[in-house]
Amino acid sequence: MGMRTHIVDRRLNGKNKSAVNRERFLRRYRKHIKRAVSDAVQRRSITDIERGEDVSIPSRDIDEPVFHHGRGGHREMVHPGNKEFVTGDELDKPQGGEGEGQGSGQASPDGEGMDDFAFQITQEEFLDFLFDDLELPNLARKKLKDTETFHYERSGFTTQGIPAKLDVLRSLRGAHARRLSLSGKRRRRLRDMEAQLAELKAHPESDDPAFSPSEQIAELEEKIAELKQNLKRVPFLDEIDLRYRQHVKRPRPATSAVMFCLMDVSGSMTQGHKDIAKRFFILLYLFLKKNYKKIDVVFIRHHTSAKEVDEEEFFYSRETGGTIVSSALKLMKQIIDERYPPSEWNIYAAQASDGDNWNDDSPICGKILGEYLLPMIQYYAYVEITPQDHQMLWYEYEKLMEQDPDSFAMEQITDAADIYPVFRQLFERKAA
């Protein structure tokens, strides 16, 4: 009887059978999800932007309609757990007209729950929705940089290699097989002769006078010794047994990118300004991360002079004094020259400022950017965080944008709510 039952272990079979259906679901409700995602960008603190998000969709948008009974008319329902009712009892209907329509407080089987449909999207999906329709400007594939652009993949075994890659088990298995095949016959012969010898020694008398036992024994012993010698020459481990794990070098199809964050930290930049700038940088970072495997981030802060700093200092240390933007641009050029040859790196830069600059300096900025930096880099985005009128720098930069609209973009941000729309605008996929 038990034969008719078949037990199968399916645990290792594909887990995500519903992946396609999930993706279809997300696509269908992308409007709702996008809204939730962009709300989240406003609301969340920067440090936890890298996780999923709760999304809820009003049930009226998600219910699948079917023909069903509505409220009203006459119904009779049977329920369990009667305590004190007797036939003919009358019970007041709840006040307020509508009532349950079903009696005794039961949720109507065809009534619709007004609860929203809530679910979670993963971090990856979150980022997909966040950057949906956005495109990296000038996503050029740079020359592959050796250290990062190759990786090793296992690809079977080879007979040559370095000791570190020796596969002991496989080598010994080979040696064992070789020994068997090379010496099998001789071993069998050896066993036969040894048996013969033992026989002779056990019964020294012979019926045949032509062969004296002692001679036969001597002869056998000699042959045995020779054979043993012979067998010894079959090595336990031969060079041809050795097997090495083979790894082949494959170029990695990813490219690397460096992102420069430039920020004015002069006295006129408040912490509020900096927070807005920070969100903007974070968005850029996440966006780049989606597209590049390896990203270096360089932080350059400046007032009258520029300095390369770490993230903490970049965002949180305070400075006073005036502003010379070109100092930061010069430092950026210097760092590129020293560490990030444009032939190997995709270079992105984002600059945040309140628009304040020494008037004499603004033309210099335009010159450095236009002549040196823009030709080397993928994209330069400038955000000006100010509700006030523009100053010299803005007008200088406007000229650049006319010159080189593909790799230079600028926008104004007045408060935190602008960040995401402005970011989208700067990186919007341009119609081909």
Partner: protein, 512 residues
């Protein structure tokens, strides 16, 4: 407890620990199989598949089909299931069984050994024998062909997606799903067909179906093109109202492509496959619960399981058949497991230890062969008739059933029957009706197609007890309109008077 020591000496349990292994699952299955044979349970061969919790949710969200076409609604289902699972709300999450031959049952790896044994008894012998024995399943589904058919359906749908675009196919499926419950011939016996046959026929259909539709629209008598209205009453098409909306649309919608008709057919076949399940929930779950209970006790009597094993099983069993009273916050209607289990158990009692009352109520059964009786009850009924036939006064008393009337023309609710001598018959009738599908769903049929005029389709709703249609009606009508391609009307007609109207596209109100 004096003879406990006695039985314990005879106890030679299959295992003591509660961790399961494939070997143990097999041993328990064999032991259960033997017991099932003693009770004459006739089953399809079993295929037991061990899966992870996540896979179980996958299975749940594709409405229990091992292969299914892709659709966003299954993704939604998965998210819902996942949420329920995380909150720990999912009921009998450790069991899922498919009406196929071999009968596929899933065991979740997280379950303990006693739970695996319980699921095997419940699904592989309970549900399985129900699938094989119950007349609705026998007539409406073909267990040996379903998996092949699902594979066919899935590949057909994805071919269509490639050819006509995911969105087009999705829209069509949305519309079909909206009418799925109206895609079944309730009274006519359908012919189950195999996948190979289906594929062959599908090719034939490609050509001839369109011809058929063309014929319909060509053979319109065009004596009086201007005339419409009253006269068309005499020559309605279809001549008799049709209850299978999807079938009617598949065969007669003027504008559909053949692939669209084929997809409608696929959804129709799914509806047909699930139709028996919707009508036998009480009977099916009751039967499976009755048998896991009976089979596990048999194992215990044979000394094959330990006391601890039995305790765990009974604990889980009482969870499954728990019925919260109507005034409990956990109440969400009658628990079909409880109701079904109680009826089968009581049938056994009526056979084995009949009372005066039983002789009066069940003269044919009382004192009879309980095995024959429960098998007879399982084979030849659906929920509605099963309750009508076998719900005993004792079960009504045990569950303390009562009926309450809610009439929108009255200011109060009325208790119309309770579990007493005067109420039994009334109560039983009302409960049976509650499980009648045509009572639970509105009665909507194809009434007429305006063949000579605007090609509009008119559906007719016949309200029962003045119950109107629900709020998503207009939305469903939009789906009908999408499928039909021309204006669609729906009228609620009570005693010859139109009491409600829906139109798609909506018609301007006359008094506006």
């Amino acid at each position: 407890m004096s003879n406990t020591a006695d039985t314990r000496t005879h106890r030679r349990p299959i295992s003591e620990a509660s961790e399961w292994s494939f070997d143990l699952v097999e041993q328990y299955n064999e032991a259960i199989d033997e017991c099932a044979a003693e009770f004459g349970l006739d089953t399809y061969p079993n295929q037991i598949e061990v899966i992870s919790a996540e896979q179980m949710m996958d299975a749940y969200s594709s409405v229990g089909m091992p292969v299914g076409y892709h659709h966003w609604s299954f993704g939604k289902q998965f998210l819902e299931t996942w949420r329920g699972y995380k909150r720990g709300q999912m009921g009998l999450a450790y069991e899922l069984v498919i009406n196929s031959n071999p009968c596929i049952a899933y065991l979740m790896e997280e379950n303990t050994l006693p739970m695996q044994a319980l699921v095997i008894a419940h699904a592989c012998y309970g549900h399985n024998s129900f699938f094989k024995g119950n007349y609705l399943f026998r007539t409406w589904t073909d267990a040996s062909a379903i998996i092949d058919y699902l594979v066919f359906a899935r590949s057909y749908v994805s071919e269509c997606e490639e050819r006509y675009g995911v969105e087009e196919v999705e829209k069509l499926l949305d519309s079909c799903h909206a009418l799925m419950n109206f895609g079944v011939d309730r009274y006519k016996r359908p012919s189950p067909v195999s996948a190979i046959e289906e594929r062959r026929r599908q090719e034939e259909r490609e050509e001839y179906r369109q011809r058929q539709v063309n014929d319909l629209w060509r053979t319109i008598p065009d004596m009086n093109p201007d005339e419409d209205g009253e006269d068309s009453e005499h020559q309605r098409f279809p001549a008799d109202p049709q209850e299978n909306l999807l079938y009617f649309i598949e065969k007669n919608a003027p504008l559909l492509d053949t692939w669209q008709r084929e997809i409608i057919r696929i959804v129709r076949k799914m509806a047909q496959y699930f139709y028996p399940q919707r009508q036998t929930q009480v009977m099916n779950e009751g039967w499976a619960s009755f048998w896991h209970y009976t089979l596990l006790h048999r194992l215990y009597d044979k000394g094959l399981v330990t006391d601890g094993f039995m305790l765990e099983c009974l604990d889980s069993h009482s969870g499954v058949i728990y019925q919260p009273p109507f005034d409990s916050p956990y109440y969400s209607g009658l628990n079909p497991y409880t109701l079904g289990f109680s009826i089968y158990c009581d049938l056994r009692r009526i056979c084995e230890a009949p009372t005066e009352e039983d002789h009066h109520w069940f003269p044919d059964i009382a004192g009879g062969d309980w095995l024959k009786t429960v098998h007879f009850a399982m084979r030849n009924f659906k929920d509605e008739s099963f309750i009508q036939q076998f719900l005993s006064p004792k079960v009504m008393r045990d569950l303390k059933l009562f009926a309450i009337s809610d009439d929108d023309q009255e200011d109060v609710y009325r208790i119309t029957a309770i579990h007493d001598e005067a109420g039994y018959r009334n109560l039983r009738e009302k409960l049976a009706r509650q499980y009648n599908l045509s009572y639970r769903e509105p009665n909507i049929q194809v009434w007429n197609v305006n063949l000579r005029g605007d090609r509009s389709l008119t559906l007719r709703h016949t309200p029962q007890d003045r119950i109107p249609l629900g709020e998503s009606t207009q939305e469903v009508l939009r789906h009908v309109h999408r499928l039909w391609g021309f204006d669609v009307h729906l009228e609620s007609v009570e005693d010859g008077t139109v009491v409600g109207e829906y139109h798609c596209p909506p018609q301007p109100m006359e008094d506006e």
